[in-house]
Amino acid sequence: MASFAQFGNELYSGKRSYDIVGRRRRWFMISAVLLLLSVVLLLTRGLNPGIEFRGGSEFMISGTAITDQQPAHDALAEVAPTQEARVSTVGTNAVRVQTEELTDEETTELRELLAEAYEVDVNDVTASFVGPTWGQSVTNKALRGLVIFLVLVTVVMALYFRRWTMAAGALVALLHDLVITVGLYAGVGFEVTPATVIGFLTILGYSLYDTVVVFDKVRENTEGVLDQSRYTYAEAANLAVNQTLVRSINTSVLAVLPVASILFVGAFLLGAGTLRDIALALFIGMIVSTASSVFIAAPVEVALRGRNPAVREHTEKVMAARERRAAEAAASGEDPEAALADARPGGLVAGAHLGQRAQPRRKRQRR
């Protein structure tokens, strides 16, 4: 795939550059639309919490000789086709079927169907209400943990990057990812199970992880950016985003491939319905996270950083210097465009002296 490597080369050298940071208004508009869509989906369709969160109906079939799970799935499919039953055998001759809460008619109907399918008397099928396994207290504790985590991670990032703007950018991207993931999930209308919640939590970690990788390059590129006058902070950050673009694409493809495989091959072709919830949450979340690290986190960071007086002053200085050089070039009859085209960010940071490492080496002797 020579063209892709070539693409990477050009992105790296700055020959090909996408003005991602500069066109931030466009990305912010797109993400605002997506966010709005997500919120609307959340409000209109809403999340559909599963039996683990709000309880449901439980049917106990006792004294049956058949302990297969399939008849129960088939019976439920007749009564409520959208639901996924949780079926398990209890002891040696009983089957437990858990479903979402059913109406009285549905309950009666399912009881009869189950009795028929398992060849027992209707009276041997008892129905009762079962409470949530994932109660409010579990949710509360998870939320408390999340809040503490977010506070800690903000502090850690602010300390690591030595700039609060980066922590803020990462948090904005994180919230953006979560809202969109949850919103689109609600749009698809899958039931929310504990696995889904785990998926959302994974996205939380993944989004931050991905943003940190991009920001680390931004940090590297913008080190000492104020000490020169060839390019602005925004340009250096934009180059960093471009330089990590190939990595972002490769990483997201590598991470999404197994998830997509579970979602499409597993859930739709093979019919493994139980993994589709977490796979969908991860599928949406990973794509959104990678995109937001590039299109939201970095531009937000640059926008915030641009408010810093030192950075603003520096940007003005660079612009003034450019105008001067263009004018000089024009005066001496050269093409002003060409004179400015040289202003490639990066590559000008003074490195350490390499000493003898810079010398050609004798070919290593075979040992």
Partner: protein, 689 residues
């Protein structure tokens, strides 16, 4: 810097993991495969039915509270994901994965109610010795001596106000009965049984009859007197007869169940009726069967019971406080008045407002009983006494601490256990086990197989994609993933043996996702190497420099994941906790693999001709990566484009090299000699610097 050494470290690590596992399989009950969670393997389902006393009504919040307590108990035993739910708004259904052992089942089945009762009498654990019966009328002076053993008992003190100043060897704490030397302390040791068996069997076994036993008429035949040193070997009927005689205070041949006088408070010895005394005499606490506990004790009646460790038996008054009156119980190192941290542990109790008020009343009353040795209460869990601290003064602020006795303080373990029992022990309702059955997996095995198959297909796609992108480097990616997979498998198997970790379906999904996160470390690393090559570095230098930069990024981004894992693990419960565990585990393994495998392997491979020479399919071909794409510096702040450079025949060094090659070729033609290869491994790199 020494790749082989680093690889050796990795091999050692893998060997340790699998060696531990092998040892576990060989000599213990480990298995080669990880244990599976409820959804994949099934387990045991226990249905608990609440027992409503006196026709009271159960509220939903009672059930919720009970579920939470059971969840805490189960979670504290490991990371196994249990499912706890209510059924029909009444019963509680607890499903535990696999074949839980007895102690785990006990955690659930234990009806466990914590109650605070006043201690009325304490005795040696053995039943009364009939030989003792010869009515030598024990109105002898043993009554006041029960404190002889006071040295090794817990002490309760007002939190923060004044801690028992046991740091000084004055030992006033041991001098319970009469004198006022306790002035410096607010707590003092009295007989009782500490958690970890603080009461030693070796002490003089003196069943301590209440000092004012005459008030109840339970009689002065003192059951104690050194006589009961050894467990009684007498036939039971003899024993009962003896006990009967002892207990039958008024000699009417019947055991009265009514207090002789109307008890004025829970500390009133009138609670010790003839029946109670008889039970007390007969009770054999050395027999484990009598120490099972089980709850269901009547809070309004006196209780005859054993210490949990079987080192003493007690007559206790009616319950004063319930476990639900405790807001929290923690353990920690003790500090004395000066704020110095002492070298022993204490349990700190925090009562609810209502509990604090009652506790104040109780301690006020008990403090006045100091002289009689009745200033103790017993903490009863499941009808067994887990601690019987004494009270020296009223504790008004609802905060108390229990400390060990001087010279025999709590160990950290003891204090933590007691704190745990106090905070998790309290269930608001009593439950009986209605049924206990095996339950199958909720997910069919074919579902799991399909999921895994899909995961495998995904893995194959990952390999294909990295082959396409990184060509020869894909070898490192695949090998690293294999190492990561093997390590993960081994660690999970070891942890499911040692920690009770169980793999659920979301856990499996989490591991599949981890492939992506692990692969990202390689992507970051490879891309950094390529960047350095593009900057014009030689390949071996690019690997070193690229690693330095990639390392920072990998560490920073993994630190975020690790932070998430640690915070969620310690703060969340249930499924979220399991997730945090998996996340932390895979993150650490990612770091281990990148540092100990990927980087050293890369260092080694770059020495080979195929990789180091930048072969077309190695993924490191500098030409392919556009090493010449970077512009060269012309001086005066401007650059030459590659095309410009090309036109002039490359850099000076390149032109010289070309000339040398040409010359060598000429010489070769001339004499067939070999040119001295000075260019080295990076011979194709066009150095711009």
């Amino acid at each position: 810097m020494r790749p082989w050494r680093t690889l050796a470290l990795l091999i050692t690590l893998v060997a340790v993991v699998f060696g531990t596992l092998a040892a576990g399989v060989r000599w213990s009950d480990a298995s080669w495969t990880p244990n599976l969670a409820l959804d994949l393997e099934g387990g045991t389902q226990i249905i608990l039915e609440p027992q409503v006393e006196g026709g009271g009504q159960l509220t939903a919040s009672d059930i919720d509270q009970a579920i939470e307590v059971i969840r805490q108990r189960v979670d504290s035993s490991g990371v196994a994901e249990a499912e706890i739910t209510s059924q029909g708004g009444q019963n509680i259904v607890v499903a535990l994965p696999g074949q839980p052992d007895e102690s785990t089942l006990d955690l659930v089945r234990r009806s466990a109610q914590t109650r605070f009762r006043v201690l009325l009498a304490e005795g040696a654990p053995e039943p009364v010795d009939p030989a003792m019966l010869t009515p030598e009328d024990g109105s002898d002076g043993t009554d006041g001596t029960e404190d002889a053993d006071g040295t090794d008992d817990p002490v309760v003190g007002g939190e923060g106000t004044e801690e028992p100043d046991t740091a000084e060897p004055g030992g006033d704490v041991t001098e319970v009965p009469t004198d006022g030397t306790e002035g410096t302390t607010d707590g003092a040791g009295l007989p009782g049984t500490g958690v970890g068996g603080a009461t030693s069997m070796a002490r003089p076994l003196e069943p301590t009859e209440p000092t004012d036993e005459d008030a109840t008429g339970t009689e002065g035949e003192d059951a104690g007197e050194e006589a009961t040193e050894e467990p009684s070997t007498t036939a039971p009927q003899d024993l009962e007869e003896a006990a009967f005689q002892l207990a039958d205070a008024d000699g009417d041949g019947e055991l009265s169940d009514e207090p002789a006088t109307e008890p004025t408070s829970a500390s009133d010895q009138a609670w010790v009726t003839e029946q109670v005394a008889f039970d007390f005499y007969v009770l054999d606490c050395t027999d484990p069967a009598n120490r099972i506990g089980g709850g269901g004790d009547d809070p309004d009646a006196p209780l005859v019971t054993c210490a949990q460790d079987g080192t003493a038996k007690y007559i206790l008054g009616p319950a004063e406080l319930e476990g639900t009156d405790i807001a929290s119980a923690t353990s920690g190192l003790r500090t004395n008045d000066q704020g110095q941290v002492l070298n022993d542990y204490a349990v700190y109790l925090d009562f609810t407002a209502e509990g604090g008020r009652i506790f104040n009343e109780v301690t006020t009353r008990l403090a006045t009983l100091t002289g009689t040795g009745q200033n103790r209460f017993a903490i009863v869990l499941d009808t067994l006494v887990i601690s019987a601290p004494q009270v020296e003064e009223a504790i008004p602020n609802g905060e108390a601490s229990i400390t060990g006795s001087p010279g025999n303080g709590f160990t950290q373990q003891e204090a933590a256990t007691l704190a745990n029992q106090l905070s998790f022990g309290a269930l608001p309702i009593n439950f009986t086990v209605q049924s206990e059955e095996q339950i199958s997996a909720t997910l069919g095995s074919e579902q799991l197989q399909r999921g895994l198959l899909a995961g495998l297909i995904g893995l194959l796609l990952v390999v294909l994609y990295s082959l396409l992108q990184y060509r020869g480097l894909a070898l490192i990616t695949v090998l690293s993933l294999v190492v990561a997979g093997a390590l993960t498998f081994g660690v999970i198997a070891v942890l499911s043996w040692l920690q009770g970790y169980r793999l659920s379906l979301p856990g499996v999904a989490g591991l599949i996702v981890a492939i992506g996160i692990t692969a990202d470390s390689f992507v970051v690393y490879f891309e950094r190497i390529r960047d350095e090559v593009r900057e014009g570095r030689r390949l071996d230098a690019a690997v070193d420099q690229g690693w330095k930069r990639a390392r920072r990024t990998i560490l920073a981004s993994d630190a975020v994941n690790l932070l998430a894992a640690v915070v969620l693990y310690f703060l969340a419960v249930g499924g979220v906790r399991g997730f945090a565990f998996t996340l932390g585990l895979t993150t650490i393994i990612d770091l281990v693999v990148v540092f100990l495998f990927t980087h050293p392997t890369m260092q080694l491979l770059v020495r080979t001709r195929f990789y180091g020479g930048g072969h077309r399919f190695s993924g490191l071909d500098p030409e392919h990566l556009g090493a010449s794409a970077a512009p060269a510096y012309r001086g005066r702040g401007s650059f030459r484009s590659p095309a410009e450079r090309e036109a002039r025949g490359g850099t000076i060094a390149e032109r010289r090299a070309a000339a040398a090659r040409a010359a060598a070729a000429d010489r070769d033609d001339a004499d067939g000699g070999d040119a001295d290869d000075l260019v080295g491994t990076g011979n194709t790199a066009k150095e711009d610097r």
